[in-house]
Amino acid sequence: MSYALIVSEVRRGQFDERNLDSIGFANLAGKAAYLLVPQGDYAIDKGSVDLIIDTGLTESAFLNPLVMVDAITKVIDTAGMPDLIVFTHSSSGVELATYTAGRKALPIITDVSGYDKNEAIFYKSYYSDKVFGQFRKAKEGPVIVTVRSGSFREFVSDRGKAADTKALEGISGSVEGREFIEYVEEAKTGVDITKAEFLLSLGRGIGNKDEIPVYEELAGILKATISGSRPVIDKQWLPKERQVGTSGKTVKPKVYLAMGISGAFQHIAGMKDSDCIIAVNKDPDAPIFQYAHYGIIGDANKVRDKLKDILKG
């Protein structure tokens, strides 16, 4: 039977939720789901896949593309070539997927967020979701994909029985080219934006660093906490602890007021569960308006100044 090889993600002893999108994607594509896993005691829903392949590798070795390409090769040698090799579109997923594509000379499509089974079409975001490219394989054979978190988990289904586990023998967790040293945790500092009920979140669209104090003034009056998108942190307009998104914090305030933020999925993933999202953006097509409850199409700095005028009354 044709199968999808799913390379799972386990982080600090947890089977990551993102794996559900990989499993769901394999189901949607009509392939048996073979799940490649590292060793560990994490909980895993064995009824949701068809086979579990235990590499015996540590979690950190599982992050190493040089190691994982050997594990994948071994699976192919024993189970035959899969139709799909599925990774999550995360930091490690993309790294492993692209390296595997290069080593195996296989086609790759990253950040897949939709799939049309009838036409075998993969939807891939371009320009931060302003448009999507519809891809298909140019010739028969396997394809590597990385799937976007949240896109396919609804297609996970229960097999009614627990999958068997097969051990993959003889994979070395250490290679000369790349060695894991340690995990590094971001330093815990003063503000915790995940605790705030009201976030005033700033994006690249506010223009420049000099605008920050003026937003801080508004935040002071509104008793809001300031947060930001990644570029605002990268440019050091705000400190790292204020970053919302996949590589920052996940927040769920009562109100998330986003000003000058476009709504890239890495940002959306960090704030989409807020009770009320209000977006201010001068571009009516900005993807953030798809996720917001309320929107204002206009210049963020002008909205800010007007709010201040009214509040100072």
């Binding site: 950040d111 939709g114 001068k282 929107g295 909205v303």
Partner: protein
């Protein structure tokens, strides 16, 4: 230490309306401004910083039409020694085709490198694939999402790569290798008009992309473009600015975050 950096000219679409034309066959970029891919700006800066400290050279390479020369001028103004254009009218949608050509260029032209840097992803296609495919193809180590180069030592780098939610992994990567550089790793230097003008005087080489493609056909094809599915979307507040802002304050009150 010789570092090759791949950089790309991309459409800056963040504030622009994007129109799909020709029955889904194309995206109209004719009125959109272009610039250097943000992530590549960080990659060039990181390479230049290392070379300034350790000696060696930075070579910037870009794929595109003649307009992409602006990327090379910018990279040279930032401190790259050479700039190479792989000229092609139409850039393939399949990153594997691009990587085939750049790896052949590195080999055939004997471009020496200890490391290849790329940005984590391009803002246009967001493929995030060039570095990984290239490293796999060349059979050399790879690390992506590099957010800190802690040490450049004999024969290897010590780097930190970003995982998610503030978690990083510190690793040792053997040279030669490919690193994909994450935004925020440094503060890219300011490039003045004067600097660009000076860089224009440095000779840039052009290579024909198709001479290096080695018959590599695309393994995937982009058959059509579409707009994102509408998800319901926001209730847009309309009217005068004053009225809109008062309505906004009303919502904040209703949600209980402002009295």
């Amino acid at each position: 230490m010789n570092i090759v950096v791949f950089a790309k000219r991309v459409a800056a679409t963040q504030e622009e309306e994007l129109r799909i034309t020709g029955d889904g066959k194309a995206v109209d970029l004719s009125k959109i401004p272009f610039k250097m891919n943000d992530w590549d700006n960080y990659a060039v800066e990181e390479a230049v910083k290392i070379v300034e400290a350790k000696g060696g050279t930075v070579t910037a390479i870009t794929i595109g039409n003649q307009d992409s020369d602006e990327i090379l001028r910018r990279a040279i103004a930032m401190g790259a020694k050479d700039g190479f254009l792989m000229e092609t009218v139409e850039v393939s949608d399949d990153p594997a085709v691009r990587v085939e050509a750049i790896s052949n260029l590195l080999n055939k032209e004997n471009i020496p490198f200890d490391a290849v840097f790329t940005g984590v992803q391009a803002e246009d296609d967001q493929f995030a694939a060039t570095g990984g495919i290239l490293a796999g193809k060349l059979g050399i180590p790879y690390a992506s999402m590099v957010i800190g180069i802690d040490a450049v030592e004999e024969g290897h780098f010590i780097v930190r790569r970003e995982l998610e939610g503030g978690l990083q992994e510190r690793i040792k990567v053997k040279i030669p290798c490919v690193l994909s550089i994450q935004s925020g790793i440094n503060e890219p230097r300011y490039v003045s008009i004067m600097g660009i003008r000076k860089a224009s005087k440095v000779e840039r080489k052009t290579f024909k992309f198709n001479d290096y493609r080695a018959g590599q056909e695309a393994m995937i094809e982009l058959v059509r473009w579409s707009y994102p599915e509408k998800k319901g979307g926001a209730k847009i507040l309309t009217g005068e600015m004053d009225g809109i802002c008062r309505e906004l304050l009303g919502i904040l009150k209703e949600k209980g975050v402002y009295q």
